[in-house]
Symmetry: C2
Subunit: 416 residues, 2 copies
Amino acid sequence: MNVHNNVRPNMARLWSMLMRSAEIGATPGGGLNRLALSDDDATMRRQFIDWCVEAGCRIQIDGVGNIFATRAGRDPCAKPVLVGSHLDTQVHGGRFDGILGVLAGLELVHTLNEFAITTKHPITVVNWTNEEGARFEPPMMGSAIFTGHRTPDYAWARTDRHGVTLGEELDRLGFKGTDTLTPDLFDSLFELHIEQGPRLDAEKVPVGVVTGAFTVHGHVIQIRGETGHAGPTPMPSRRNALVAASLVMLAVDEIGWQFHGEEGKSTTTRLKAEPNLLGAIPKFVELNCDMRHPTAAGADAMISAFRKRLPELEERSRCSIEVTESWTYGGVELDKTCTDLVRSAAARLGYATKDLLTEAGHDALHTASVLPATIIFTPCEGGVSHNEKENVTIADIEPGMNVLLQAVLARAKLAE
Amino acid sequence: MNVHNNVRPNMARLWSMLMRSAEIGATPGGGLNRLALSDDDATMRRQFIDWCVEAGCRIQIDGVGNIFATRAGRDPCAKPVLVGSHLDTQVHGGRFDGILGVLAGLELVHTLNEFAITTKHPITVVNWTNEEGARFEPPMMGSAIFTGHRTPDYAWARTDRHGVTLGEELDRLGFKGTDTLTPDLFDSLFELHIEQGPRLDAEKVPVGVVTGAFTVHGHVIQIRGETGHAGPTPMPSRRNALVAASLVMLAVDEIGWQFHGEEGKSTTTRLKAEPNLLGAIPKFVELNCDMRHPTAAGADAMISAFRKRLPELEERSRCSIEVTESWTYGGVELDKTCTDLVRSAAARLGYATKDLLTEAGHDALHTASVLPATIIFTPCEGGVSHNEKENVTIADIEPGMNVLLQAVLARAKLAE
């Protein structure tokens, strides 16, 4: 197999696409607020499609708005290699999370065009709808539909905080496509992503080889106290749900610290209180929290250490504390053949690598259940992500981009 | 002065009005959700006006929707005695808070009609707009405009959580009146109210003579941490604003317990977190809390004990914690002449009384700065209020109603 080690991406072109993207939904703090299927997301999607068409790709859009831009291969029987990630962001999101993976796919196509390389397998750049879940829950939705984890009906019915459904927004913006694209039509998936953690940056390792994912347990916790007048109700008569919530949130945090030596993490991300009004003792709180650990056993240990504390917290706060929903993801191993292609590409290019587990969710984790899939990490400044200050330099992402290009070239094979 | 000790209100009539009110905005839990200037509040206001007109009163409405229903007196130079409270409720409010005070005023008018009693001073039943502040903040707004604490412009511009202004709602519902009613036009104010605390109920004392008010200090606290990915961000790099908020809320609660022996109380009533999304570490929290104490010095001591703890909580959470707004109310003494009328009415009627300070805010506290004003408390079941379970029996409120009637008769004087 002839590997084009001298083929190099045009980093200035990739950067210029990233910076154009950074204008669409830009926040005053230097980040992006480009929620899934917002007007800004639609603008970015159209920009992406324009660029793909200019690069000679054929565009297909499925029923939940996943966009597939395909550069033809030479063998009509060879299935396309997917390369991509997502263009939507968090509310206080950064300029690179997800976006790098999609635009790196497009840069890969540009590079092949420029070097007049034809691969045996087609290459399909993909933008998954609503990876972040910051507007419509759950996250990683587009890839969940693609892989059959969820149905389109389920996705269409999801509502944002104003009661607008994902289906309505797809219709309004013209992104409810009619193409049917199923995993059996594809060969494999490669996702380039910033690490969103500090390890590569701290250790000055340019390429992260993601071999699998942390196990993540999420909980919805409902706390019921009793409302009453914030004035005359004597302290001993109170059952303030926010006091109970405070105890629970500190317990969640303490579990994270307790397992910190094993890389465990825990977070309360969201809180909703009722009636949440001046003058009234809070009667109800709903919390969302999650606990993450490199091993399934460790994640289970975190959860059971947490649950063991709840009766004591109920007693102290005189509120009921109930786990009403829980979910798990991760605990996935990525495809060894694909990660080996990543490792050997890095070796040929002279880049040091580090094997990592991803601690965040990625579309490739869903995809890994139906296709050979892998993730390549680039360093990012201080590991900061889901934050307007999220940052990378061209030098941070160039090794990952080169490795992506070489690994995908190896997988998609040069035409024979 | 001839006191009509044998004049008695018709408790069945009063109860029937209370139960009619309890249908307008009824909640499944047996309470009321009748936010200020909602459709239900408008329905109740129109019902109240109809009843007042049937009872022969003249209706006047001022620019912020305060409703004044006046039963004429004999002396054209004598100023009316105000009797009233408010018809709006909390979201999970009870059926008696405020409502009792307004309908007791109307029952008083009915009773005088029935006994063909003409007083020297007119009697004006008043419904103050937006006492609760559960929809438009701050609370006690109508009385604040009446007394000149705030301007109508200020009130009209207040918005609810959907951005609708109080002025727009007054216009929509037809309650932006054109009558000018200022404190100098009135003689005094009597407000009958459920205690909203457990003391009268526990001690089986039928009448509370409110001599003044607790000092209440309120704080708005802003907590700034940093957002980031809830997955890969290592525990030591986190500045989770909800963790800091938990520490602050527990400190608020602990201060209340510390001063509990002196009747101090403290509450975190409201919390707003950002971005409040799955997957993101919370970066910002705004809390509302208040501390209440029978004495100004005690309330100050609570606040300073609380503030002293903040630097330690900042250090533990690595978030900034800032008191961005504070307000104070209460610390008011009510008019001795009026409270003496209440005490002597109770004595004549053979009811035991207990002197109390109110721990809640009441329109009469604003009014007390411009008019002789007093508050009469009735017991309420278990002291529960701002709660759908708030409850009284006819037997609980009959003594207060009788005392109100006799005290107002004494103040308004029989025609000579």
